[in-house]
Symmetry: D2
């Protein structure tokens, strides 16, 4: 499997801002910072809404980061026209995240005609121990 991205971080971020404005109603939260063959990295800058008592980041925020990141990894390789939809997402919560930026490294495991499977690994600013790990499946409409 040889994968070649056709969108760079700027193109992905422009697409997210134009077509999914509700992702950024509280300022810029999701930011694609790198695109490589078969992979992307997304950064999340949490705001008050994403925090939980005890100074941690909410589960739905981690879910959204894994889902938006993995979906952008697919789009980076098939282009912004495709209407890929999430069909399955399995997430393991591994450690309580600190209340700061999170990084989501997304790697395409399979990019088929009908289905794409992506792995998402979320860490904090140390970029070492994982906070959460997910695998997600996307249904890709006929092109």
């Amino acid at each position: 499997m040889k994968l070649t991205p056709i969108m760079d971080p700027e193109a992905l971020n422009r697409f997210l801002e134009a077509d999914f404005p509700q992702l950024h109603t509280d300022g810029k939260v999701f930011d694609v910072i790198a695109v490589r063959a078969g992979a992307i990295t997304m950064r999340l800058e949490p705001n008050e809404r994403h925090l939980r008592p005890g100074g941690t980041i909410s589960g739905p925020t981690l879910f959204a980061l894994a889902d938006v990141g993995a979906w952008c990894a697919v789009l980076a390789h098939i282009g912004p026209v495709a209407l890929a939809v999430t069909t399955n997402l399995n997430i393991n919560f591994l450690r309580k995240p600190e209340p700061g930026p999170l990084f989501c490294d997304c790697r395409i495991l399979k990019l088929g005609k009908r289905l794409a499977v992506v792995e998402a690994s979320i860490s904090g600013e140390d970029r070492t121990d994982l906070v959460a790990h997910a695998t997600a499946t996307y249904s890709i409409p006929p092109r």
Copy 2:
């Protein structure tokens, strides 16, 4: 396995409002409407923030409903003091939800000393075809 709930809908809703105010920053969104042996039903009243273009409800909202609902099913049977945390959640997205209230029927599959496993079935107002289906695991601290 014989399960007996020890919290009713009012007690669960009071607990959510007091301890998780950030779940309700835009008005009352999550509402436990029924508690039975081994099961609860939660209703979600979506607001602007939960909607997506094309008139549907966002994936993170469905995730949050499954997670908060399944977690309340556990609390209903072990009481509000327990600090149960989600360790795994697997969700299948089945149909595009209409932009209205959602109902989440949660059923405990196992309530052990250390782990609880709960199934969550999400439907719209027709209460027939499922919009999403999830299974979640919670780690229960020593009591």
Copy 3:
């Protein structure tokens, strides 16, 4: 969603025996015992090969029962010609099974043109407490 089965238990069992003889190299292990709208029940009769020390049934046996059962639920509704393949299976192991027959109740959550999602609930002869619970996704080729 209104589902109407087009194969009965006899037709499903004949199909399994003819096309998947390796499922029965040690005698009849898998047996479809009921078909209803959107659902089937499969019985597994374990032999020595399926047992583990301590008198329990092996994990791969439970996986195989969930997978074969859920797959038969799909076939019962689309017919034996379809070459559906498993794309994802998530299984929770809930209780140690006794070394006797197991029953797998399979319920179709979604039967789309391209994907089917099925829930499988495995119990022992008491048919009450679940031994394992799975959800599986099948990719359905163009018909």
Copy 4:
């Protein structure tokens, strides 16, 4: 998270043979070939029983390889006395495997006091494209 293995491939293989003889009723099938910090690699040598018509390897065989491999990754770091049991396994089937040896690279995502989470990546002899990808959770009894 700094992980240090305390069992090498020989010790793991001896343990599997002594305590799980039913894994090898048809000759040596599972073989730990490498142990590293936080990771192991297991090789599976399929026999007739693991094959399917059309010359592929069965789903339950891939499941068993992921489960036995991930479990050995945990044992390599906590020792053979621990009675860790699988509580959840999520597997994505990505490509049809060729009927030859399979390799399962297992990486520990979390090794806690009560739960371990392991990722398993299965490939064929080319060791490039993945055949299947799984994440598994193990419950670890008090030590």
